[in-house]
């Protein structure tokens, strides 16, 4: 498949630079990333596409940290069992993190890798930044 082939290529490609999308704290301490389009990516990717990726990530994190009936129920149930229930059950946050990891992999394969970019899962960087690695433009396809 063309996408996986280019992903393999990237492993040997040289890293030109890295861009770090910082956290957006205007809504408080919840995990949210800035949707501002970095200048370094202007020549590589469509602004709309980038914003859509970040917005989806923000929505997923918001779902993980949502305070509502579900999180309260989980918290109370866990407290009653002295938190031993987490030995056998996965928390809601962990389930969402898995979803996020899958989404990022999918985005990398379908959209970013063919353009010579690679997204790093924010959890690998302590949920502080979304690291985007820019590889040297080797003009794989037609440009």
């Amino acid at each position: 498949m063309a996408e996986t082939h280019s992903l393999q290529d990237l492993r040997q490609a040289a890293v030109a630079s890295k861009v770090f999308v910082q956290r957006d704290y205007t809504s408080g301490t919840i995990c949210k990333f800035q949707t501002k389009f970095p200048a370094e990516l202007e020549s590589r990717i469509d602004k709309q596409q980038f914003e859509e990726t970040i917005q989806t990530l923000n929505n997923l994190y918001a779902d993980a940290e949502k305070l509502g009936g579900r999180s309260y129920l989980e918290g109370c149930l866990a407290c009653l069992t002295a938190y031993t229930i987490f030995l056998c059950m996965e928390t809601h946050y962990e389930k969402v993190l898995k979803k996020i990891a899958k989404y990022i992999q999918e985005q990398n394969e379908k959209i970013y890798a063919p353009l010579g970019l690679l997204l790093t899962d924010p959890i690998e960087r302590g949920l502080r930044v979304v690291e985007i690695t820019i590889f040297e433009d080797r003009s794989i396809g037609s440009r």
Partner: protein, 371 residues
């Protein structure tokens, strides 16, 4: 499988002099008596290094990275000793009498309470309080460049302006400080603990009694520990008094001579514990209802002067309590048990491959978020 002087490769189903496929190499290591000549050519030793071994900061790790504590644990052992010691005396000396003369439910409830207290204490002490990993070199450089761009040209000889970012949260300007050790701008409510040498998210305080920092991830366990310990102390204190009274009523009011030494010891420990732990529980209940941390309270961040208000508070006590105590359980971002694969080879380096699991594409490690 080995034939005299030859090797049978189960993967390629061939008999050879030497084979460098993983299967055969693995079998060579497995079989201690390997007389084959290939042994001298390549012997790859695989040493599994987990990420916790390379983490900066002054934490100690146990159980292969599952347990994370501060370096000084002396006071923590004292806490354990006091709780276990007092409860053992209670169960050994008071409970048999009380179970018979009053109700067997008394020791049962005491046991449940004791188990809960220990669970909360161990959970607070052993878990990651919400440590923020330090910035990798590229990220640190990126932030430095941003700072320099923001500060403009600093004249030679002039001190550069302090590294602060202003963020507006809920109509309140919050200053984010730069941490020179971790090379990051600290998120709001995070603080650097000098004892553990880490930036901790929603830093409350460093508690020597639990031997760990109290932060976002373990604050609720810390609160439940102080709350349940207060209840346990009051419980033991009350039933010690009841026990003494009952005994003196039974044996004719000779209170002083009949009080066994252990009861006196328990009462003493409970009395002093009561004042400190109940007070602490009350203080943290107050903080939770306002959604503040001890750190913010000490610094007076939201004390109300200059019309500065807490932007994180929901202005509703119930909502604040629910968020702090029943909010989502945050995962640890440290990935302590992730594997950093290192292959060290002797003589033939041709087969060597070194790759660290910081490769963003690899999904081989299963992240452990539990503790």
């Amino acid at each position: 499988m080995q034939y005299k002087g030859f090797l049978f490769c189960a993967r390629s189903k061939e008999i050879k002099y030497s084979c460098s496929c993983q299967w055969c190499i693995y079998n060579q290591i497995k079989q201690s008596a390997c007389t084959f000549a290939a042994m001298s050519a390549v012997m790859i030793t695989r040493k599994v290094t987990r990420k916790w071994e390379k983490l900066p900061g002054k934490n100690t790790f146990c159980c292969d990275g599952r347990v994370m504590m501060a370096r000084q644990k002396g006071v923590f052992y004292l806490t354990l000793f006091l709780i276990i010691g007092t409860c053992s005396l209670f169960f050994a000396f008071e409970c048999p009498y009380l179970a018979v003369h009053l109700s067997p439910a008394i020791p049962v409830f005491a046991v449940l309470l004791f188990v809960f207290v220990m669970a909360m204490l161990l959970r607070t002490s052993f878990s990651d309080p919400g440590v923020l990993p330090r910035a990798l070199p590229e990220e640190a450089n990126f932030i430095e460049m941003e700072i320099e761009a923001a500060n403009g040209n600093v004249l030679a000889g002039q001190r550069p302006p302090p590294r602060i970012k202003n963020v507006q949260i809920n109509n309140q300007i919050v200053k984010l400080k730069y941490c020179y050790t971790c090379k990051i701008f600290r998120p709001p409510r995070a603080s650097h603990c000098s004892i553990c040498d880490n930036c901790v998210d929603r830093f409350d305080h460093h508690c020597p009694w639990v031997g760990n920092c109290v932060g976002k991830r373990n604050y609720r366990y810390f609160y439940l520990f102080t709350l349940s310990l207060s209840l346990l102390t009051i419980y033991i204190f009350a039933f010690d008094i009841v026990h003494v009274v009952l005994r003196s009523v039974d044996s004719g009011f000779h209170v002083v001579s009949l009080t066994p030494h252990c009861t006196v010891l328990e009462v003493l420990v409970c009395f002093f514990t009561l004042w400190s732990v109940v007070g602490l529980t009350g203080f943290h209940t107050y903080l939770i209802s306002l959604n503040q941390t001890t750190n913010e309270d000490i610094k007076g961040s939201w004390s109300g002067k200059n019309r500065v208000q807490n932007p994180y508070s929901h202005k509703n006590i119930i909502e604040n309590c629910c968020e702090v105590l029943c909010g989502p359980t945050y995962p640890s971002v440290l990935d302590r048990r992730g594997v950093m694969l290192e292959d060290s080879t002797s003589p033939n380096p041709s087969d060597a491959s070194t790759h660290k699991s910081s490769n963003p594409v690899s999904q081989t490690t299963v992240r452990q978020h539990f503790l």
